[in-house]
Symmetry: C2
Subunit: 404 residues, 2 copies
């Protein structure tokens, strides 16, 4: 029998318990032994709940119990999660976590401890919820150099972008709806400002580079400035606006960014709707691939955590996960990264076209029938630095969205 402890009986924690209880028989078969939840750490009591007898309030009871072989950290946040995870590893217990903030900030150190002690520190659920992406990168796509990972990594914002596109509902209305549905928090900034997606792409970037990609180095822009007018232009161009978190190889360097992008119909990410997540991966041998599924939610996230528990249980003394060094990777300077830019501008095309062409070179003009006081254009591929230098001359520019 393999004893485990679950730290935190919130949404994901109760999901983990539910998954283990519902699929007990098949999970035990796969592990080859019975998996038994010995403790659940939470400040609350849960009187009358079927897990009432498992609840403990003191982490020391867990870390001191040699019977506990696997600790499941599903509390979220940096502290006390970091201290508890580190102490669990140092005490010889493998850890499975869904905590993207923890992995993005302290992953290198925790992975190093796990490796040194021949334990597993597993974090599949920290990116893409139930979608297997971390283990495929670590154990399947190992013949490839990964040239690009671009993901729709935040379900809340994708839900909002989908609603705005399909129902012509404006930003504030869809945010309220997302909050009512329980997809967005009362303070939605972690989602809508892109911070959540930023931590996730930092983790994926660290895996494919083998070095620490600091989430604080990644330029991050949320969806708060996206309006229904932008969506109208997107429709006119047969595109959609998606919050993309992306990491690309450019020569020797990686460039990473989180920002809303216009995505064309031909790209596999165009079709990802509602709260679904998807991760597009381009390998230098594999070519294009994509992993799609529920990026959040109690049971899908818990499913990924339980997958990690099973791996940890099946591989005692054998580290199976992707790791990265604590050396920080210097990302490419954002102003050197290149792409097309979609730009909206006040005024009439006839008035500005020549000056724009002088500064931006070839541009594709987009005019909407119902917009008389403005127009838009899409640049050729150019660097961010050149774009911002050129755009300075036009205070009439009222919006810029990058083009995937």
């Amino acid at each position: 029998m393999i004893k485990i402890a679950v730290l935190g009986y919130g949404t994901v924690g109760s999901g983990v318990v539910e998954v283990i209880h519902t699929n007990q028989e098949v999970i035990n078969q796969r592990v080859g032994e019975e998996l038994d939840i010995k403790y659940i750490l939470d400040l609350r009591e849960f009187p009358g709940s079927p897990v009432e007898h498992l609840i403990v309030h003191d982490f020391e009871q867990i870390v001191d119990d040699e019977e506990v072989k696997i600790v499941v950290e599903v509390m979220g946040g940096i502290e006390p999660a970091y201290t508890f995870v580190k102490r669990s590893l140092l005490a010889g217990k493998s850890v499975a976590t869904s905590n993207k903030a923890l992995v993005a900030k302290h992953g290198a150190e925790l992975l190093a401890i796990a490796k040194e002690k021949n334990l597993n520190f597993l974090y599949e659920a920290s990116v893409g919820g139930g979608i297997p992406i971390i283990r495929p990168l670590a154990t399947s796509l190992t013949g490839d150099i990964i040239d690009e990972i671009t993901g729709i990594l935040n379900g809340t914002t994708n839900y909002m972008m989908s609603k705005m596109y399909h129902e012509d509902a404006d930003y504030d209305a869809v945010l309220k709806e997302a909050q009512a549905m329980g997809y967005a928090e009362r303070d939605p900034s972690a989602d809508v400002e892109g911070h959540d997606a930023c931590r996730k792409i930092a983790i994926l970037s660290s895996i494919i580079s083998g070095k620490l990609v600091d989430f604080e180095d990644i330029y991050t822009e949320g969806i708060t400035k996206i309006t229904l007018d932008d969506i109208q232009y997107a429709k006119a161009m047969n595109m959609k606006i998606k919050l993309l978190a992306s990491c690309k190889r450019d020569g020797d360097k990686l460039c990473a960014i989180v920002a809303p992008h216009l995505v064309s119909k031909e790209h596999p990410l165009y079709n990802i709707e509602d709260v679904f997540n998807a991760i597009f991966v381009k390998g230098n041998m594999l070519g294009d691939s994509m992993f799609y599924g529920s990026g959040a939610g109690k049971l899908p996230t818990a499913s990924a955590v339980v997958g990690d528990i099973v791996e940890a249980a099946k591989n005692p003394g054998h580290s199976v996960m992707a790791t990265w060094d604590a050396d920080k990777l210097e990302l490419e300077d954002k102003s050197d990264t290149t792409k097309k830019f979609f730009v909206r501008m006040k005024g009439a095309v006839s008035e500005w076209k020549e000056q724009l062409q002088e500064v931006f070179g070839r541009i594709d003009i987009v005019v909407l029938d119902n917009k008389h006081d403005e127009f838009a254009f899409v640049t050729e591929i150019m660097s961010e630095g050149s774009y911002f230098a050129a755009a300075k001359a036009f205070p009439q520019i009222c919006q810029m969205i990058r083009v995937k």
Copy 2:
């Protein structure tokens, strides 16, 4: 240094050599040792090729060489692949293979030998080419009971179906084009009759059930009867026709089928075009997920094989793959499986509607403007047995396609 031998220097075999040479540095880092191709077994000589010095013609030289730790079987077909793989395992060498026919027919036995000898028998490339699907099922989705796997598992037929849909080209024309592009063989029957997809879904079914699903038990229907008229009806219904290979849980039983299906716009498989493959997986906790990528082709397939070589090299003495027992799983009787049926029928709607409703119950009629001598209808969900019993009464039925 880890010495490997490649059996067969055809498309996939030369791809494996190319992947290893191109990505040598990063692959060696991941393995933690240098990976070295010591032999390539082929009947041909390849004079002047950079691998000329590695070519051997006698398998005994490989199996007798204790330095060779991993054998890569990319010859295809059952013999001599089966004998070579079995002898390699018995001689203590791990094996990576892309050979779906071999895995579908002899997988259980070869996996058992590998397990007993603490070796790896890895076969990621046998299904979905470069798409990681087998290892995610084996090592990530282990907290779930998999309720359904439905795949577009054959690139050739998906290319043909896409061409017919987008270019209104008829079956014979797209087949010729697929042959000219090198996607279809001169004898295309393995693809167009569904045999290739059948072996692949048999492998996936065996993994999720843990028991041998015999490919010969799976009802298999190809795309040869699909006409442009069918495509027109599909378009009128906002659907596409795709060759699906599917395995679903129905109570205690699994039902599996390979057949063309009408797929609605809402389903993730609807958007899979050209030679791409995709595998839709539904877990009882995870919900819907999908894995998408290049299902065939030299480098994507070789990428998956090399991923397996890396896993085998990193895990000596430690079996990492999904296995299944040699006990054969009895599939649900096809006539008990249920779905909707799309049916085309000669005659006028007015003439037949009442009789059809008497026999089929509620039906949705589809009439095309340019078809005056026929109409179509879609049934409610019913069993295959009931459908065929009911359809007997109507010799005017000229086509039936299942609805996903």
